[in-house]
Amino acid sequence: MNNVISPRQDPTARPFLELRDLKIHFPTDDGLVKSVDGLSFSLERGKTLGIVGESGSGKSVSSLGILGIYHRRNANVSGEIWLDGQELVGASPETVRGLRGKRMAMIFQDPLSAMHPYYTIGDQIIEAYRVHHKVSKKVARKHAIDLLARVGIPQPDKRVDDYPHQFSGGMRQRAMIAMALSCDPELLIADEPTTALDVTVQAQILDLMRDLQQEFNSALIIITHDLGVTAELADDVLVMYGGKCIEYGAATEIFDNPEHPYTWGLLGSMPRLDQPVTERLLPIKGTPPSLINVPSGCSFHPRCAFDGRTGGASDTVVPELELTGTSGHRVRCHMPAHVRQQIWHNEIKPTLEGTGGHSVASMSELPSASDEQSEEVA
């Protein structure tokens, strides 16, 4: 499973970002937490990858891993991360730090807690800019005001001196984006950029991000549990479960021909505005797997309704992430491809389309992993 690369890869050139068998493990008192366990993908500039999964599936950890924000003392990291020809896992922390914020930047979930409450928005943007550019405070301030204007903050020359708590949620997220863009990064990772916002603001932010990506021609990774967001932005989609990638492909593939039962579950629980309001949401039952005691075999099998159709392999053998179809679509499932496609077309799709998806809830209301686990890897 080493050669998992972008579905759209040009085999001659090295992709802009490439992960190879990335593993991030945290030894704890209770056992080894395998937050990310063998993740591989690649991404080109100007393209967008959506990483989807429940809380605790390892999506945030992998993005932090790319940025090199983990405690070297208590995290075991292996594999390779290539950014524009430079390997990051083996690079010195100082090298990675120099890239952070400059060539790769991150937009965090919940900008209220992600911004320092004691410093003004301006100070925080200026700081981000000046750490990588030797400019005067005045120049940096001008830059910050420009950025704020760029992300649509009215009266940026005044608001630049406000504190984060003086901003509304949407404005804060815009400021956060401005901060991430301060050094024109080539790789932008957005971790649940819209989760904390209400629906109308969500749309504005997503618009903004799409515009900016095009303008800066950066590679964008959107991490979310909301397939809707992915559908809006992503070129490729990667579904994570229990620290592993279980389905990976072009966005159209994933939405039209998903082959993993977990992906079906995700789609089933996605509210669809384009469908008539007839049925209630279809939640995924059970709880996400413990990252310490990952279920044997296919880690999804305890929740999988089809584990009976794998001939008993589901709880003994870890399935490989194998190609299916021709467009680079890969799935990690014991069921043969034709069986999966059959189930999708005959059993699942009709249910989703026919009865499907009015909902009040989204996946955030799914039974989620205990907060404890996600905190432990942070």
Binding site: D29, P261, W264, G265, G268, E279, L282, P283, I284, K285, G286, T287, P302, R303, C304, A305, F306, I343, E347, I348, T351, T355, E372
Partner: protein, 336 residues
């Protein structure tokens, strides 16, 4: 569509075959606590100290001499040196430490320091435990009232807490012990003193418990199950007792455990300053570690300071270790 909720629901997801065995908070905490060596050491020490206090007469009968017995024989105390114990042990000069007197003798009157230390645990632990109980009762009651009812009750109680925190507590406690009458509530002598100390120490520490309980109550009040109970027509007292209290037990337990060592130090401080329990022969000897230290301060004989001081230190440390461990076990967020 009933089948949707079945395990064979076509959306391809089923409930876990086996529900994970529900573990009570107590069990989880106990498992965690067992793994924490320092906390266990503290806990075991606490238990030993309690046993020592309870069985003081037996221990002293076995390893020492009655705590009030004078040993002024010239072979033990050097009368010509003003009653300094004879015999050195390590750096404990003139301590009189021997197989017969494990911690040596008190200068001048030759009481067995070991027995005094053992008996000292009684007063110390009794007062610390009961005073904590007083704090917990007052603090929980006022904390719940402030947190649950809010409004005027909260304003008044919060103000009271601030007033109490603004008082120079030690000063007040000392003054109160000094000012109060000799006989009251049908008690007199040391029983009255102990009762007073318990009340005073307990009374001055309630804001610490109240603050925690108030905060917890405030957050619990917003939780669904309380709303649920209320929407079902449950009234305040019922909600407090049935819904709130069970959820408050853990934090109260933790902070009570951490209050005990504070109270031990408080009692010792009062005794050190001479307003604690007084030595008696009627009934209990009323030895206090703080009192011994204060006597020792006048003599500059090192063993006389060392053992009572270490007794306080070890006891307080044991409770602190145990309390810290308990907090970590019950409240994983504070973990390490």
């Amino acid at each position: 569509m009933a089948t949707r909720t079945d395990t064979s629901a076509p959306e391809g997801i089923k409930a876990p075959a086996k529900a994970i065995e529900g573990r009570s908070l107590g069990r989880i905490a106990w498992t965690r606590l067992k793994r924490d060596k320092a906390a266990m050491a503290g806990g075991i020490t606490v238990i030993l100290l309690i046993l020592m206090a309870v069985f003081a007469p037996l221990i002293v009968g076995w390893l020492g001499h009655p705590p009030n017995e004078f040993h002024q024989d010239n072979s033990l105390l050097a009368a010509e040196l003003g009653g300094l114990p004879r015999g050195d042990f390590l750096f404990f000069e003139s301590s009189g430490i021997s197989g017969d007197f494990l911690f040596g003798l008190e200068p001048q009157n030759g009481r067995d320091l070991f027995s005094e230390i053992v008996y000292g645990a009684r007063v110390s632990l009794l007062i610390a435990f009961l005073a904590t109980l007083v704090s917990v009762v007052i603090g929980s009651a006022l904390g719940v009232i402030a947190g649950f009812f809010g409004g005027l009750a909260d304003t008044v109680i919060s103000f009271l807490m601030n007033v109490f925190l603004a008082f120079p507590l030690l000063l007040f406690a000392i003054a109160l012990v000094g000012v109060l009458p000799d006989t009251a509530f049908g008690l007199s002598g040391n029983s009255l003193r102990i009762a007073l100390l318990i009340f005073i120490i307990g009374f001055f520490n309630w804001p610490y418990i109240a603050r925690i309980v108030r905060g917890q109550t405030l957050s619990l009040r917003e939780r669904e199950f309380v709303d649920a109970a209320r929407s079902l027509g449950a009234r305040g007292p019922y909600i407090i007792v049935k819904e709130m209290l069970p959820n408050l037990v853990a934090p109260i337990l933790v902070y009570a455990t951490l209050l005990i060592p504070t109270n031990i130090l408080f009692e010792a401080a009062l005794s050190f300053l001479g307003v604690g329990v007084q030595r008696q022969v009627v009934g209990e000897p009323g030895v206090t570690w703080g009192g011994l230290l204060s006597d020792a301060a006048r003599n500059s004989v090192v063993h006389f300071m060392f053992f009572p001081g270490m007794a306080i230190f070890i006891t307080v440390l044991a409770f602190n270790l145990f309390g810290d461990g308990l907090r970590d076990a019950l409240d994983p967020k504070s973990k390490r």
